[in-house]
């Protein structure tokens, strides 16, 4: 589907053992990640966004297991890696991760400098002095002023935004091919969020890495992503370029997600909320997982899982609405007018998401 995939996921299934019950967190996902592009994975809490990306670095919790599927990266199937020793060649070195909360991502009693240099020494085999030199460069790159002095400081002497910059510096220390940003700005305040997003964007150009964003924040998505993958109940239910998802989405869940954006709500109307709750993944999901919550569900939605319907070369969705036999439905008004309203909002100047 995409050219030149750097990472290719095939039929991935992940299960967790939770108190003698089995939870299927990822239900048969196949997805290619194009090199140097930014892919945003969106979806509500519990939809499996984080679990999905954790499989790329073998970071599933101890009770989780990939039961099926392949992940191809640099000509090898990562699922063949059996122990931590093998994963250490990938983690940090090839695929790096930035976590949500910079407040807790750093060891509170080790110096910032140590925590950066440590990775450089480990993966590049450099000496302490060389590592320090490189660490200082990285610190400058991520916008830390006076790095010489701050090198020997501890995380508690840094603000939240500064710490996230350090976390990014550590993630980039070994020039990874892929950077997974697991909600990198959720714990930060709005002004800092924009700075961090800009920083990741700039660094992606400089270091030429592929970025995978996990986020709830559609504002961030609109601003940085090339492609968007919408996840629901352990599946990607719609995938497309950012424009296709925002202006020509096809899945009722995507519509619901976009309609719930406070920034995009219609004036005078009550803010939209998707009714109901996601299905329990302890039981097998029958048909379309979103059907019970959808306003557009048909009989078949409760019987048979929808296949993938291609809309364009880059855009596909998993909904029976795209079947030629399905009745023609119009997306809600909010979605139909979204394009125009977004243009209105942004034409005053500035970039959406950086407001």
């Amino acid at each position: 589907m995409v050219n030149n995939p750097i990472l290719s996921v095939k039929n991935l299934e992940v299960k967790f053992k939770v108190r003698d019950r089995v939870l299927t967190a990822i239900r048969n996902i196949s997805l290619d990640f194009e090199e140097h592009k930014v892919v945003a994975i969106v979806g509500e809490s519990g939809s499996g966004k984080s679990v999905f990306t954790k499989t790329f670095t073998g970071m599933l919790d101890i009770n989780g297991e990939v039961t099926q599927g392949e992940i191809w990266f640099e000509g090898r199937n990562l699922m063949d890696i059996k122990d931590d020793k093998g994963w250490e060649e990938i983690r940090g070195k090839k695929i790096a991760t930035v976590f949500q909360d910079p407040m807790t991502s750093l060891n509170p009693v080790r110096t910032i400098g140590y925590q950066i240099s440590e990775v450089i020494m480990k993966h590049q085999g450099k000496s302490m002095e060389e590592a320090k030199k490189e660490a200082l460069e990285l610190m400058t790159k991520v916008g830390i002023k006076d790095p010489e002095r701050r090198y020997d400081e501890y995380p508690f002497q840094y603000s939240g935004g500064m710490r996230q910059r350090i976390v990014i510096a550590i993630a980039l220390a070994c020039h990874p091919k892929i950077l997974i940003c697991d909600e990198p700005t959720t714990a930060l305040d709005v002004t800092i969020q924009a700075q961090i997003i800009r920083l990741i964007k700039d660094l992606a150009e400089e270091y030429q890495f592929t970025t995978i964003y996990i986020t709830h924040d559609l504002g961030v998505v609109a601003n940085v992503a090339d492609y968007v993958a919408v996840m629901y109940a352990g599946q990607i239910i719609e995938f497309g370029t950012v424009d296709e998802i925002f202006y020509d989405s096809r899945h009722p869940y995507t519509w619901g997600l976009l309609s719930s954006l406070p920034q995009l709500g219609l004036k005078g109307e009550e803010l939209f909320a998707i009714r109901g709750t996601p299905p329990s993944l302890f039981e097998e999901v029958k048909g379309d997982a979103f059907a019970p919550r959808s306003n557009y569900s048909m009989k078949i939605d409760f019987i048979k899982e929808p296949p993938i319907f291609d809309i364009t070369d880059t855009h596909w969705a998993k909904t029976w609405l795209l079947d030629p036999r399905a009745p023609k439905v119009e997306p809600p008004l909010v979605i139909r007018t979204l394009h125009q309203r977004m243009l209105d909002m942004t034409k005053k100047g500035g970039v959406y998401g950086e407001r």
Binding site: A96, N107, K122
Partner: protein, 499 residues
């Protein structure tokens, strides 16, 4: 490090120790019936048939212990009449003019005046208020030796001054004259090699046990049989003796034997004995037990955390639960039984004595058993706690191996809360371990406080309360200082919140 903070902490500690001492004094000197202190005193028992002497003995002891001030009519009349003269005898009789004057005079001063049961002579006493008692005790607590310390009317020509010299054993010494100690500072071949006699803690004389010895000597002087060696005294006399040169103190009355050995009045001395002091014995056992428990407890606790819920963890848990659930008396006896059956080790300390290392092994291990369990439990807990932290996840995502994460990150973080407790466990060594010491018949500190309470040794109770509370307060401060060294987030300042 904030010096002001430490100073204030010390000041506050001093105040809390003072409050503790006030409470202890109140407990010991007002709530324990003062007649009970004689129950273990042989000297008192011998006076049972001599009521007058008994009364006088009791009041003298009470005066010495600081309960009251005591005046016999004879003391009061000493200036008026010659001792033993007929006038004196006349005055002492009850009903005489002088005696009645004595009664009136002291009653006016708030004294209680009573009669000896047999002779009917008067004596007066007045209780010392507890605050004053504490104040006097405190003012005598620190004794500084100066050339004017010795007040001996029979030796008016005593030279007063300080000079440099050597002890009889050849060590360099600061020699005082007119001082209580002949050698104010001296060096010799015994730990800690340099000794000082200028500042001494003075808790008073022990009573009714260890009579005649001051408390510090009871706790700090070596015990057992004198270790004799050939020595040459200042006079050139050669003899076998356990004398520790450097400990000579002033003796007002020098007898013929002393004159053969010493050229001056400094003829009182301490001797070397073959067992360490009580505090030393306890400290040696406690210190090595502590080292042992850290050497075993920390790595095993770490291992248990790494192998959580696996066999190693479960075995460790069984040990911990065993130690917690079984009374220490039981498992120490069990351990002793097993260890003496399996190895050639003595079941009591006294079999081979302090000189033989085998005597020390079982008490030390027995003492370490519970602290190993405690350290295992806490280390496991802290490590497990750290393992689920986000920074560990991030460290893993950085590509660090499990071993690197444990060694470089988790262990240091998990050790921080443990580090704070090290000074306290070191201090606890000084207090001794009553169960271990009594099972192995070790002459240590453990029994001191319970015994002192049982035997109504008020001086000892007060001294131990002071020593233990001071040491523990200081060790808590030391623990906090260590904490600031290992944890950069913590600094000791007056102001709360961020630095």
């Amino acid at each position: 490090m904030n010096k002001g903070y430490i100073l204030k902490r010390l000041l506050r500690s001093a105040i809390s120790v003072l409050i503790i001492m006030l409470i202890v004094f109140t407990l010991v000197y007002t709530l324990i019936p003062r007649n009970s202190i004689f129950s273990k005193d042989d000297g008192y028992r011998k006076l049972a048939s001599k009521p007058d002497e008994k009364t006088e003995y009791m009041y003298n002891i009470w005066q010495k212990l600081g309960y009251l001030t005591f005046v016999r009519s004879a003391d009061d009349f000493q200036e008026l009449y010659e001792m033993g003269s007929p006038e004196m005898e006349e005055a002492l009789k009850p009903g005489s003019k002088a005696a009645e004057e004595f009664k009136a005079k002291y009653e006016a001063q708030g004294y209680t005046v009573e009669k000896y049961p047999k002779s009917g002579r008067y004596y007066a006493y007045k209780d010392i208020p507890i605050i004053q008692h504490v104040a006097v005790w405190l003012s005598n607590l620190i004794e500084i030796d100066t050339p004017w310390s010795v007040k001996d009317e029979n030796n008016p020509d005593l030279h007063r001054g300080i000079s440099l010299g050597r002890t009889e054993s050849g060590g360099l010494a600061l020699i005082g004259s007119g001082t209580n100690h002949k050698h104010l500072i001296y060096s010799d071949s015994h730990f800690p090699w340099l000794h000082q006699n200028i500042i001494k803690l003075q808790f008073g004389e022990s009573y009714p046990t260890y009579q005649g010895l001051d408390v510090m000597s009871v706790l700090f002087q070596s015990q057992g049989a004198e270790v004799k060696r050939p020595v040459t005294y200042a006079t050139g006399k050669e003899a076998e003796s356990g004398i520790i040169f450097g400990t000579e103190t002033y003796k007002a009355v020098v007898d013929r034997m002393d004159k053969q050995k010493f050229t001056d009045n400094y003829a009182s001395y301490q001797v070397q004995r073959d067992q360490p002091s009580m505090i030393g014995t306890s400290f040696i056992i406690g210190f090595f037990a502590m080292i042992l428990s850290y050497l075993i407890g920390l790595p095993v606790g770490l291992l248990m955390a790494r192998r959580k819920d696996k066999l190693a963890d479960k075995l460790g848990m069984i040990y911990i639960i065993f130690i917690i659930a079984v009374p220490s008396l039981a498992y120490i006896y069990l351990f002793r039984y097993l260890a003496t059956a399996a190895f050639d080790l003595p079941s009591v300390f006294t079999t081979y004595g302090a000189k033989d290392i085998r005597s020390w092994i079982l008490p030390t291990i027995s003492l370490a058993l519970p602290s190993i369990a405690g350290l295992m439990l806490w280390t496991r807990r802290f490590v497990v706690d750290q393992m689920s932290q986000d920074y560990v996840k991030f460290a893993k995502a950085k590509g660090l191996s499990q071993k690197e994460i444990f060694n470089r990150h988790i262990f240091k973080n998990a050790f921080i809360p443990t580090a704070q407790g090290i000074p306290a466990s070191l201090a606890a060594c000084l207090a001794g371990a009553i169960i271990t010491e009594s099972i192995y018949a070790v002459g240590g500190m453990g029994k001191m406080l319970p015994n002192a309470i049982q035997q109504y040794n008020n001086v000892m109770i007060v001294a131990l309360a002071f020593l233990f509370s001071t040491i523990s307060v200081l060790s808590i401060i030391a623990g906090d200082i260590i904490l600031t060294k290992v944890d950069p987030r913590i600094s000791l300042t007056e102001k709360a919140g961020r630095s």
